[in-house]
Symmetry: C2
Subunit: 524 residues, 2 copies
């Protein structure tokens, strides 16, 4: 039993009667969608989604070759039984899991080795055949599906763990390893992956690295630019760039692996990675707090950064409208009273009672200063999952409203909620809800608007206004989702012309024929 830190902290035990959300909640709705067993909130079934080439008529197919029988013969010899061409099998590779884009690829290749990937790319480069590398196909910006008839190179069969040094915590594996599989493998050895995502049951580590995935552990363990120690990638030419170092320090020349982190498969296809894995925490605590305004939320974050310091592992927030959404649409129960904003704080450490003491002292201070008004602490794993469920099921709740306009932006912390209030005023009664939540500790806002159905006028009120707003305060129009196909033309809101010019030059240097994941990342 956890002790109550102050009398004010009166809702501590309410969570026990938290029946509505007691069912096992996967860390996010993503899990459900990703399995493709079902899809919530969409009337659209497989086969009915219009082709990307139809929906986005301004995007023209590049001057690439078209697949011939000779090509198919080549690939079938190279990858016996590992070339998919049956249209019924191709849908899952042509359509993104959000069901917003649909390519028209006629062939999926499933290599098992780096040298097979090298053979494929060498051939495609010589033949001017465009390709799209694909991992778990869990991206949110249409980056991992074909736009036209690009050949899909899937990493599904590249799923071998190559090595683990348990002393240093460095794992080396192929790019097709599923994140959760790796995390489970590490859990048996008291280690864990430095990143965690809702899509972890499906996403591939190669895709995580290629999109510089952020997620729930970034506040504590930093970005993949720091924790990825090595990358092996195949260039468009078929040349293998082996920077698969498993060293913490290596200052010999340019750090080429960084180029493949976050470039969405447009500079090379990641085939193996080496990652530094932290120790798995022995104790995890979760608190859910109510505050009166965003200023108090920031004060809470600052206070917990100082007082929880090395054990702070997440600082998430959600607003009243987020809570209303999950209450109304998912019938979840708010474990505390209604407040304008809620904060979820997680600690992860090596010593349970030390961590509890720190958390209690922090909560006493936060409530004593009048920053935090109310709160509850999870008592066990189920309660932890339930509190996390409140934060993570908002995305699911939103789908029930009808149409959902989704944005994933980074802003300087003092500006993080100003945009929400501004937008709420701007949209007024034209919309069902303006809902925001996100990673407070990372300055990452998930901003959402819902309407009963798609409304062009509402879209016109949101865009480009939200991008211009973000740009003016030097925010990022894509905090963690990347640009992919759908956002590549928004790059100018977050990057200067000289930077974009350098990117274009680098793309040309690495992939002169432009065969690698065309129509993605780099703007038209």
């Amino acid at each position: 039993m956890k002790r109550v830190c102050t009398r004010q902290f009166r809702n501590l035990t309410r969570l026990r009667s938290f029946g509505e959300v007691r069912e096992k909640i996967s860390r996010s709705i993503n899990h459900v969608c990703l399995s493709r067993r079902s899809f919530h909130g969409s009337a659209c079934r497989l086969g009915e989604l219009e082709l990307t080439s139809v929906r986005y008529p301004h995007v023209q197919r590049g001057k690439y070759a078209t697949l011939t029988e000779k090509d198919v013969d080549f690939f079938q010899k190279l990858l016996p039984q590992r070339v998919l061409q049956d249209p019924s099998e191709l849908d899952g590779y042509n359509i993104d899991w959000m069901r917003t884009v649909r390519g028209n690829s006629q062939m999926v290749l499933r290599p098992k080795t780096t040298s097979e990937v090298a053979e494929i790319l060498k051939y495609c480069n010589e033949r001017h055949l465009a390709v799209v590398p694909q991992g778990g196909n869990t991206g949110l910006v249409g980056g991992s599906v074909p736009v036209f008839d690009e050949i899909v190179i899937s990493t599904q069969l590249m799923n071998q763990i190559i090595s683990l040094d348990e002393v240093s915590g460095i794992i080396v594996c192929q790019s097709g390893c599923v994140l959760e599989t790796l995390d489970n493998y590490l859990a048996e050895r008291e280690l864990m992956m430095p990143l965690d995502l809702g899509a972890k049951g499906s996403c591939h580590i190669g895709g995580n690295v290629s999109t510089n995935a952020g997620g729930l552990r970034l506040l504590r363990y930093g970005s993949l630019h720091g924790s990825v120690l090595g990358v092996e990638a195949v260039l468009a030419s078929g040349e293998i760039v082996d920077c698969l170092s498993s060293l913490r320090k290596d200052n010999t020349g340019y750090d080429l692996k960084q180029l493949f982190i976050g470039s969405e498969g447009t500079l090379g296809m990641v085939t193996s990675v080496s990652i530094l894995c932290p120790r798995r925490p022995k104790a995890v605590n979760v608190a859910f707090l109510g505050v009166e305004n965003f200023e108090a939320a920031l004060q809470t974050f600052q206070l917990c950064k100082g007082m929880l310091a090395e054990i702070l592992s997440a600082c998430e927030f959600m607003d009243q409208e987020s809570m209303q959404c999950i209450q109304e649409n998912l019938k979840l129960t708010n474990p505390i009273k209604s407040y304008p904003l809620y904060i979820l704080i997680e600690t992860s450490g090596s010593h349970g009672s030390h961590d509890e003491e720190k958390l209690n002292v922090f909560l006493e201070a936060a409530m004593g200063k009048g920053i935090v008004q109310d709160g509850t602490i999870a008592m066990d794993v189920t309660q932890r999952q339930n509190i996390w469920g409140l934060r993570e099921r908002i995305a699911e709740g939103l789908l029930h409203d009808g149409y959902n306009y989704k944005y994933d932006i980074s802003l300087p912390l003092p500006k993080l909620y100003e945009i929400v209030e501004d937008m709420r005023q701007r949209l007024g009664s034209k919309v069902t809800r303006v809902v925001s939540y996100g990673h407070l500790g990372d300055g990452n806002l998930h901003f959402n608007v819902t309407t009963p159905e798609y409304d062009k006028e509402v879209l016109g009120l949101i865009e480009p206004y939200i991008y211009e707003w973000t740009s003016q305060v030097r925010g990022s129009v894509s905090a963690e989702h990347g640009l992919g196909f759908k956002k590549r033309d928004c790059i100018r809101y977050s990057k200067e012309p000289n930077a974009v010019k350098m990117m274009v030059k680098m793309k040309k240097l690495f992939d002169p024929n432009g065969i690698l994941n065309p129509y993605k990342t780099i703007p038209l």
Copy 2:
């Protein structure tokens, strides 16, 4: 008073009579050398050091223009009173602080702003005048001094702190800020820089970023690839690439800033940086332990990683020969009995008594299991500095032997000491000492051999043997020092030909005329 965790841990209080090293020790001998007030172990005075062009006759001057009066006029107009040409003033910019290389630059430019740097580079690029960017000139591989007559662009006057967001801990500053100045500024705000180096009193943050400096906090806070959030750099063409984001998350296009981290000023000159700074720890503990062999050292590291977990901030090691060196040459006292290997463990946390308890429990376990034989814990700041002094003054101690062959390599942890034993056998009685120490937690070995004077035969026994050995186990021939001028031709021991080829292409893309820090990083 700190309690003794076991009876075995009997040397706890010995440190109090630790008179020999009680004088205030700067974190490293580097401090002394860097100030250029004195230089230990070298008979060579300023003016006597031979020119790099003489010492390395195989390196030919590139086909660059030579400085004319018209050029000088241009720079004097652009930077009034900030162009140095007096030969007596130029020595400090032409010679590295180790006094191993000496350029022959005729001019030092001291811009204050990014746009001045842009003007300089635009002009130099058009005129084909080669330049070398220089920060605190504290590098160890001759990367920041001219090789021939390159114009020095010093960041000495680019020392403004631009902003600090105390909530997120993100500082933005010009590249010429001295690391220690930044750390002191942050200390007043309960924050700290994520890196710490012996040279912190002199080195510039722009140089740290350009060389991807490692240092003493890397084990805990990771590399600069993770903690640098933004970079503003000027390309050879004079174009400013503004990627000075102060966001934790930004996935809009390629992460160009990574290219400037560790590329030693050969792709662009860093003018400003944005860095994520951790909270300053409230409690710091240091323990000094003796173990019987390297296997026990690894077990100690593994145990403390697990038990100290989030509070572990350093795990350094030094061998018996290191201890003998500082005992004999610096008259320092070993606070415990003599052991084959010693380990220094530092914890940093937010709660003193929690940290002490964790440390004591760890020490009890380590001694109970028979892994650690003996040890002592620092009782106060002075004792902490004294223990750190044992580890950090080895470099100074070595200089007293005469000639010092120095290597800075990364190896897979299980191999880290094997190379030392192998080399000790190989060199036998031909040398004074074979000494090794380093960052155990990072797999980074500082390997040293001494002889009374420079001995070509000994050098031939060490090189290329040590590089080949390192290469065979996929180690790095430069863990944290970079390649610069002196090690650029060693790159092939740690990087594959395809990777080097890509680097050469990138250099050509970013700097087609090759004016930026020529003769560095990229091999001949």
